[in-house]
Symmetry: C2
Subunit: 214 residues, 2 copies
């Protein structure tokens, strides 16, 4: 079964091909990012087709059973979530607040979206238990520094993300883009562009398995 | 690709059919529970067959592509993890210790494995932030009480577990068995028999998708 939103998107594409993701998003009053996983599902089910710089087409094809190899081909780009980022001067206390406000399990630390560290509920709970005053403690004293962070790029497969989350026993990976400094080629920075967590993988599992018959 | 352990298990079954899960576990020096998901994968790939009270057989069949409808049929029983349970008289501090010791995201509260509550990293972090002394605070003051707990039974599908985790925005479900009190038929108790989390779902996703060709 397609979700109600997937049905609506399919209908919009059917009557307006070609149409850009941005136009579909404005019709539904949501952001482009919010549609990403629905569009990925519809494309992989063979119901719609996407052409770069043109938009989405209705294929007229019947839905076929969702193939497992389509799951294997899904990229991180198709299902990443918006990252929660706090600056390096933030207190551990304000990092907890950001975590609760966004209901995220993990907060990234960085200025201008350049990754400096990652801090999880577990790190913050451990720190709070240690009797520290979180209001005066900078988050950079608690975070895992960038040199030790496990990350992923948007072009990698969701399967690689799942395997990395399991291998390193973490809940969330920063999705990054490697940036090379032209003045100093040895210096590499990681720009934060999203996050992918066990929640995203659980959602893909549920959508692919339940959406297999339409 | 099968994992090295799945290959080993397959070889053991091939040369010793029928063999019980318990016997396979002793040969590998692991617990029966540790083999559950590998055996489920091998069974669903059609490589082995299981008969109740007899054991596992080698089918001699060639592996076929892992079918998505086999994923849809997987039950919670085939992939649940051992629960982490603390007694109702435990302090919030000792609940945190149990959580870190077992590296779990959620701890169940109950006596004699009868579910009384659930407490998560998030609950404990919130409590620690509130300036409470966790050493003197009983965990039952922090937990979500059983009347409000979302749970699942072992016979339900993994898909239902994934959908429930997403719908209620939680990381982990207690897997329970409903127990009826013969003296008081209105009284229902939930016996804790395991847990299923987004980690389990992520593992199934990774195993099914990567294990599709052998």
């Amino acid at each position: 079964m397609l979700s109600a939103r997937q049905e609506t998107i399919l209908e919009i594409i059917q009557h307006n091909s070609p149409i850009t993701g941005q136009h579909i998003a404005s019709r539904l009053h949501v952001t482009r990012a919010a549609l990403r996983s629905d569009l990925a599902i519809l494309t992989m089910l063979g119901l719609v087709d996407a052409r770069p710089k043109v938009g989405y087409f209705f294929t007229g094809r019947q839905a076929r059973e969702f193939p497992l190899n389509a799951m294997a081909e899904m990229t991180v780009a198709s299902c990443l979530s918006q990252p929660v980022v706090v600056g390096t001067d933030t207190s551990a206390y304000d990092a907890v607040i950001a975590l609760f406000t966004e209901d995220a399990g993990t907060v990234f630390v960085g200025d201008n979206n350049i990754l400096a560290g990652v801090v999880s509920r577990k790190d913050l709970l451990k720190t709070a238990m240690g009797g520290n005053d979180l209001r005066t403690l900078p988050v950079r004293m608690v975070m895992t520094p960038v040199s030790k962070i496990i990350y992923i790029t948007a072009a990698e497969k969701v399967l690689a993300a799942a395997q990395r989350l399991l291998a390193y026993e973490i809940d969330c990976l920063p999705v990054v883009q490697r940036i090379h400094d032209e003045a100093d080629t040895d210096k590499k920075e990681l720009k934060i562009i999203g996050r992918i967590s066990k929640t995203n993988i659980t959602r893909i599992f549920a959508e692919c398995v339940s959406g297999r018959r339409i």
